[in-house]
Amino acid sequence: MNIDIKAITKRFGAFAALNAVDLQVRDGELLALLGPSGSGKTTLLRIIAGLENADSGEVLFGGENALERHPRDRGVGFVFQHYALFRHMTVFDNVAFGLTVRPRAARPPKAEIARRVTELLKLVQLDWLAERYPTQLSGGQRQRVALARALAVEPRVLLLDEPFGALDAKVRKELRRWLRRLHDDMGLTSVFVTHDQEEALELADRVVVMNKGGIEQVGSPAEVYRDPASAFVYEFLGDVNRLEVEIEGGAARLAGPGGPPLGGVTGRGGPAVAPAVAYVRPYDIDLVPAAPNDAGFTVGVIRHVQEVGPLIRAEVDLHGTLLEAAKTVHHGGGEDKTVEWRQGDRVRVSFRRGVVFAADANKPLALAPFHIPGGGAGEFHAVRT
């Protein structure tokens, strides 16, 4: 079932939690609301569920007004961040709760309830824990009980608030994959809230990046990652180097006197100097040993090298600005064509791709490497892509 959110506004005193937010959730998709704390993502989720009232705006479930309905009649499954399991009930009774509170006419017979609860517990692989109390379970198990409980009422929409927030890294990864499968198998429409960009990008069909009560960008994980619509999205999604730059004559150079040139900026000619901010991801930075005659190039010094799993990260001092560069390690087999990075090395720094947000432009500009004819120094031509 698709959900239409129209101009939802919510204030807590003077604080605007949501500012006229519009969003369409498509039928059957798994949507992530991603943002830092205070961005309004949880408030939006709670408004959809009816646990919070919007000051103005509309929420439509499959075209019909959901805000008029009491939360208990919305057909929504909600999984709370801290699970909110009924601590005095067994796992079985927790899952059965939604069925046993139905009015007598709509309540399935006892045997039918037992059958469905057992079925759900099997689905979440916890049927052997039916008689335990929530306190006797691990975090991951509680999470799955919470999910089974939410699914017991056969919701049309599944809402999850930071579903993996309280779990350790390994369990989190397993549960993520499992949730993805479950969502697909059951044909649900699901919305989950997270502040973890990796989780959002890995799990969701579409990601909604939120900031300060508004939506910055909506798109597939690849879209929001490759083409961030705003500086905020760029900064929030993954590791990124933020550089204060100046644009002059179609090229960007590091701000400040004598700032080295970084690359060409597409669609920006003219001699006027404009302050801007450039974003470059660590693995879009190439480091090559600098030759003695490289004076005209962008040369920096490696301050620190660190190997993290399959990645090598280097901290480079470029004219007083610290950059992070990264590349994957080629362990064993095959010839490693990349050059080894060593602490203290002088390196030529080039930016394969990046984005520049000029103070006087509302659209992001692409940062592209200079084309250097014959490896000679001094002349720069921006590559048009």
């Binding site: 569920a49 009816g50 646990l51 939360p71 208990r72 009649d73 919305r74 929504v76 499954g77 909600f78 709370f80 801290h82 909110a84 399991l85 009924f86 601590r87 005095h88 009930m89 709760f97 939604g98 509170v101 139905r102 109390y133 929530p134 306190t135 006797q136 409980r149 939410a150 017991a152 009422v153």
Partner: protein, 292 residues
């Protein structure tokens, strides 16, 4: 070499950072026990010894004597009316304080504490001033032939006033700590307000509630000051057990006074024993609730 090893084994284990030395520990335990013995256990023993000093027969005579029986009945009746009412008011007050934000919440919390901070005599006098013959409502009550002061309603009112904070005070921090997420989960699962209260909230707070009710009950049966002001001390009619004890004592009828006092103390002990028994019976469940 081996002697050294034995020596080391004979020495006490090294103390952890939070452990006190053995002597400090013993001293602290001794002080605590001595204090308890002197101020709690000894007086309790004295009450029972004195009560039975002229034999069990005298003890029972003192209790089944008509005035004493009337006092016992009145005490139980007053408690039976005021405790359920305070249970209801207490849950309501704790509910709205723990769950809702509203103007005047601070004032309400302060008001709940008022009976604790005010002298019971003053609490009694408030009702005399309001409902007494020369009080605000006195003439109207007299014209309509309603007796509040020097009668059961006055005693109940004074008892309710004095014991009001027990249930609410016990529940407010508990409910604030537990939060309302389970209730929210229940709403989304389709439960009605009444179902949520009976099936989610009440089981969550029942131990705190029980404790509050037991304390409330103990105080309701034992209240002296406030009840003394509004009761009028009419023997066999408006005397509660504590007041009856005082009268007997003032008449130098020591053994009878201690007999009734022993019964009163016994009621308190039974209350405590009941609480302990329940805690023991449901210890697993209790632990589960606390750990969560």
């Amino acid at each position: 070499m081996s002697a050294d090893v034995f020596d080391a084994a004979a020495r006490p284990l090294p103390l952890s950072a939070v452990d006190e030395s053995r002597w400090t520990r013993r001293l602290l335990i001794a002080v605590a026990l001595a204090f308890m013995g002197l101020f709690l256990l000894a007086p309790l023993l004295v009450v029972f010894i004195e009560a039975f000093s002229r034999g069990a027969g005298f003890f029972f005579d003192a209790i089944v004597e008509p005035d004493a029986l009337a006092a016992i009945q009145l005490t139980l009746l007053a408690a039976a009316i005021s405790v359920p009412l305070n249970l209801f008011f207490g849950v309501c007050a704790a509910w709205c304080i723990a769950r809702f934000e509203f103007k005047g919440k601070g004032l309400l919390i302060t008001l709940i504490d008022l009976p604790f901070s005010i002298s019971p005599v003053v609490s009694g006098l408030i009702y005399v001033l309001m409902f007494g013959l020369h009080g605000w409502f006195g003439p109207w009550l007299r014209d309509n032939d309603i007796q509040i002061i020097f009668a059961l309603p006055g005693i109940v009112l004074a008892t309710i006033f004095v014991t009001f904070p027990f249930v609410a005070r016990e529940l407010i921090p508990l409910m604030q700590e537990q939060g309302g997420e389970e209730e929210e989960a229940a709403v989304v699962l389709g439960a009605s307000a009444l179902q949520i209260f009976w099936r989610v909230t009440l089981p969550k707070i029942k131990w705190g509630l029980l404790y509050g009710v037991l304390l409330c009950n103990a105080r309701a049966m034992g209240e002296f000051g406030a009840v003394s002001v509004v009761s009028g001390h009419i023997r066999g009619e408006t005397n509660t057990m504590p007041l009856h004890v005082e009268i007997l004592y003032n008449e130098y009828n020591m053994t009878a006074a201690f007999s009734v006092a022993a019964l009163l103390a016994l009621l308190a002990l039974v209350t405590l024993a009941a609480k302990s028994a329940l805690e023991w019976r449901f210890s697993a469940e209790l632990a589960a609730l606390k750990k969560h």
